[in-house]
């Protein structure tokens, strides 16, 4: 990846993190942990990979994204805002009465959201349906779906995995945000989904592993996934829950808790300092 582009993406991801903190702070609730662990990925997808038209969010030929782990809506909204689907200022209305930014994504309310999600395990099925529809129409559309590593405990994920492979949906790319934590603790201790690549491989998927916080690694992973024919691909990305806000990192407690005023200020200062360093 071009050094200048890498730098731009890092800046954008930091601004996305600020949007996440801004949103959950003003909402006094929401899910910062997983939003922060997937912030780099969402930035990379929306600014590098996806063919979209922010002026025509319903353009039929666009690539699709399904946030199967719908609770990281703050992360998705922050990136959609930065990309230009709606003003960044709107992030402060997250979860407020009357806001178009619901606690979990609604395709009816939010520009740029391709599928309503929130109940875990369901988004990946919808993504498979979208990929099937695109394939039937002969459209060169890529469908992306982001899953949590806790989410793959849902049986429906594996129904969808079996279906997508059986129907040869090679324009479907799933990403597992493997931050290793869910609400009740470490995924391995709650109900281990490991080994994740082997499970998807056994279901007939092309599997790729990547570092969730390295844009070059993400680029290599998506390049490989898009070039692969005949099977759906899954990118299992190792991530750090709460990434980029030091006191939230690798803490299950920050799965679904909003920062108080003091924590908000500390988080924003930390991110702003990094952003300032990147500007030099």
């Amino acid at each position: 990846m071009d050094a200048q582009r890498r730098l731009e993406l890092r800046r954008l991801a930091e601004r996305a993190r600020m949007g996440i903190i801004e949103g959950v702070f003003h909402a006094k609730s929401g899910h910062p942990g997983g939003s922060l662990s997937s912030a780099d990925l969402l930035t990379y997808l929306y600014f590098e990979q996806m063919r979209i038209d922010t002026k025509n969010s319903k353009w039929e030929g666009r690539d699709r994204f399904v946030l199967s782990k719908g609770h990281v809506a703050p992360g998705l909204y922050a990136v959609l805002a930065l990309r230009g689907f709606f003003p960044v200022e709107a992030l402060k209305t997250l979860r407020k009465n009357g806001s178009f930014l619901q606690g979990h994504p609604s395709m009816k309310l939010t520009p740029g959201v391709d599928m309503s999600t929130g109940s875990l395990g369901q988004g990946i099925s919808a993504a498979a349906g979208i990929a099937l529809g695109a394939k039937l129409a002969g459209q060169d559309i890529v469908t992306y779906a982001l899953l949590g590593d806790g989410e793959i405990q849902e049986g429906q994920v594996w129904e969808a995995a079996m279906f997508a492979a059986a129907k040869g949906l090679d324009h479907l790319i799933a990403i597992v945000d493997n931050n290793n934590l869910q609400i009740d603790g470490a995924v391995a201790e709650v109900n281990s989904p490991y080994p994740i690549p082997e499970k998807f491989a056994a279901f007939g998927w092309n599997t790729i592993e990547a570092d969730a916080h390295d844009f070059d690694a993400l680029e290599a992973a998506f390049t490989q996934a898009k070039a692969f024919n005949g099977k759906p691909s899954v990118i299992i990305m190792k991530s750090i829950k709460g990434k980029g806000v030091s006191f939230m990192e690798d803490q299950a407690a920050w799965h679904g808790t909003a920062p108080n005023a003091e924590q908000y200020t500390a988080a924003m200062q930390e991110i702003e300092a990094r952003l300032a360093a990147l500007a030099k």
């Binding site: 599928m115 429906q156 079996m162």
Partner: protein, 315 residues
Amino acid sequence: MAEIKKTATRDSYGRALVDLGAQNEKLIVLDADLAAATKTGMFKKAYPDRFFDCGIAECNLMGVAAGLSTMGYTVFASSFAMFAAGRAFEQVRNTIGYPHLNVNIGATHAGISVGEDGASHQCCEDIALMRTIPGMTVINPADDREAYTAVLAAAKLQGPVYLRFGRLAVPHLFGDDYAIEIGKGVQLRGGKDVTIAATGLMVGEAIAAAEALAAEGIDARLLNIHTIKPLDLDILTEAARETGAIVTAEEHSVIGGLGGAVAEGLAGVCPVPVLRVGVEDTFGASGPALEMLRVYGLEAEHIAAKAKRAIAMKQ
């Protein structure tokens, strides 16, 4: 006497899908390993490229249907009522209902008349489940013609539709000139003493009940309420006002189905006695369909008896 023609509404469903497939290239049919039983197999044979078997995975089936619909397809997703409305309830609610997607759920083998398969497959809760979902249209056709035209109407309607079909062959009630109008009840017989509001295969029983009552000098009005949601409260309110008592009849639990919907609706506008004929709060059992209908109190005589009780309650 000429033999009365009978058809299972699941057959009407399959036939309608084939006819729709010829008209609409964007029509896709999904099933969950029950294509032979739900009759989507007829569509599969005619249009194999637009039929997808999801295997025994109803939750994924509903999600795939939702995704396809966002790509501009008209989708019919099929399984037995027990699994379409029961197992996949939350998928239907969250991934189809909440975004109000254009998915039609063709649910067959509803009710006690599944027969020999017994309680695990006799779904008498599906109307109750589906009608609690905001924006969901719920249709329970009475015969072949009504079922056939219901499928055509559902395909044209934007938004999710739950279509309830049966396994048992039921008598033809309506001619080729009849076509369902979603949300509009149909008065099949005028009357002033009591109103019987029936749905699905109980419409045939209700016709027999009204005739039996007439022979005893009781003038029963008869309504076919094929659409349970949106409910035609106008025709029901008029019936309540003019006849003073209502009996509902459905092959479904007395909790939450047509009877529940009618009672809830009338309570606020024209409260009159509402007695319900349906499966009492119990599970079904194995046995031939017609015998099961008798065992569970779903015959004309049960409707007639409740009609008399309802009339008595008017005083």
